[in-house]
Symmetry: C4
């Protein structure tokens, strides 16, 4: 089975997710700079969710590039990942409307955590198909960045009920860790 359509479909879903969030951005209520400033939090959450989806697209691109074949299990692991990512605009909106209240902040982290878990499942499904001696398996190595991210999310979710800015910082922190595309794969290929 070839991977072309899996890439094309994932590109389609990610491209739509990344752009429908902009539909949630209502024009400022006033025609001056204060209107734009009042929208600051919405623009900031749009930016962070855009960056997260960009990171997933970029890493997905790298991982599939190193993949030689796909099977039914991989197709569904990929749809599972897309399902959690599709909830990102939903929790972003909630976080905005609730003005960064603890529960929506935690919900944002839960969606990020489940997306990361789904990505790991997809990665394992691909490695299991490719074999332990494949380029991808070797390139992944210990997957330190992946494990650190999961740890950050697990800390950030309960933290939002104490200090929301801590979980906010942790979400930004994970994004910064990943902003650099996965050089492990790039350097091996």
């Amino acid at each position: 089975m070839n991977k072309g359509r899996l890439e094309a479909f994932s590109d389609g879903v990610l491209a739509i997710l990344i752009t429908i969030m902009v539909l949630g951005l209502k024009p400022p209520q006033t025609a001056d700079l204060s209107g734009l400033i009042a929208l600051g939090p919405e623009l900031a959450t749009y930016l962070i969710s855009f960056v997260y989806l960009g990171i997933y697209w970029s890493n997905h691109h790298h991982m599939l590039h190193a993949t030689t074949r796909v099977n039914g299990k991989i197709l569904w692991a990929n749809l599972h990942l897309l399902f959690w990512l599709s909830l990102l605009p939903f929790v972003t909106d909630w976080m905005d409307e609730a003005r960064f209240a603890p529960t929506p902040m935690a919900a944002y982290g839960v969606v990020l955590l489940l997306s990361a878990a789904a990505y790991t499942i997809l990665q394992n499904a691909i490695i299991s198909e490719e074999g332990p001696d494949s380029k991808l398996a070797k390139a992944m190595g210990k997957d330190v960045k992946g494990k650190v991210s999961l740890l950050f999310y697990i800390v950030a979710i309960p933290a939002s009920f104490f200090r929301v800015w801590i979980s906010g910082l942790l979400y930004v922190g994970v994004a910064l860790i990943w902003l650099v595309p996965d050089r492990r794969i790039e350097s091996r290929l």
Copy 2:
């Protein structure tokens, strides 16, 4: 005529359908967990419709993979399938807003039934082009899963006027039958 653009266009439409449903998910009305719990039914119908569209994408992927050429009839059979699938977000919304009233529950089943019928028409159009000795024709065999699904829908539609939970169970049941990608094709190729 090559099948590349038919796949690309179908991927585009399915990717958009699967993601526009998330636009229908309004953020919870309160900033605590009770707001999220109140959205439970919407999230459940989002999940089931997402899974249905995922199943169609996955089976479409498998079927087209086993297809060697397309003609004008296949193009239109494919557009016909996409038309019925495009109504899925519409009936999902109706079911949500009417809180699982009998008529919207039946309407959901009608759209699923007509989508399944359209898929069968597309399959027959492809088999008729490929010939009875083609890999696809052999892989399809008796198409037991397809026939069981049609039967389930035909029972579920009237059942919604007696007990809505029966049709709900049947819709979930069909999804579970298909969640495993079509191994008939996969094992033959």
Copy 3:
């Protein structure tokens, strides 16, 4: 210059146009069949616009399939076509909201007429690049269907101010003429 991205971009825009119209379909206001029946006109205009976009996609597919190379002029002729088609959901909505009043009915025809003109311009740009002896130029021949369509639109636009059902019939008529994919090209290739 290769035609792959022109096809991919056009597929993307057409796939989105064909599916965003479904966003305009609000769920029925009541939870019974009368609610669905009240939406009959919206569903009918959704169907006709879906068919028109399907026709353009199908004919575009056939035409580009017979095209060997593209230039800057063809890129812009294609964007020009996509611009007019992008207004189809807009005039469809207007026609619905205004309950088939004469002006929106005429506006629908104007958008169809300008789309058809844009398609002809694109076709001429491609034939001019391919040369008069190309397969496409020969396959087009006298383009009777194209000319009949233009005539129908030109009659339908003023007719909507006298009897809206006449223009309605003419729009359906053109769709029926084109529903069969362009056999001129198919038979030559």
Copy 4:
């Protein structure tokens, strides 16, 4: 790393951006021509933003066509460009709702300026990967059109606070400069 998915993803995002703006076009409030005329400004801004996105797609197409390979830096330079372009529907809406007030007019220019800067960064990232003797580097030459555009935007942004029609004219002017696809690249290839 191949450039196919970068093109496909960019095509997806641009196709969605170009078509979601049409979702912002509400049907006219009355069923006669006066309703359509009242929407004139919205239609005009839709047209200009459509043309801008078309220009970016066309130039992106040309530039990537002349690109032989991509790296992680290019992926992110491309996502950065898509981020600024994704804000175009947002500022277009604001400009419409605020009836061309100075601040939204300036904001439109700021988004155009940052998109142009992001395009230049992407171009430099590609040239740096391709090398100074590559076809692309030579085709770009002095990039007069790019520099003139930046100058126009820099004048237009403050100008909107004195006379909005001046910045309006400058935005239309830049669009006209670029409407012709980049013949520098086309003629060299």
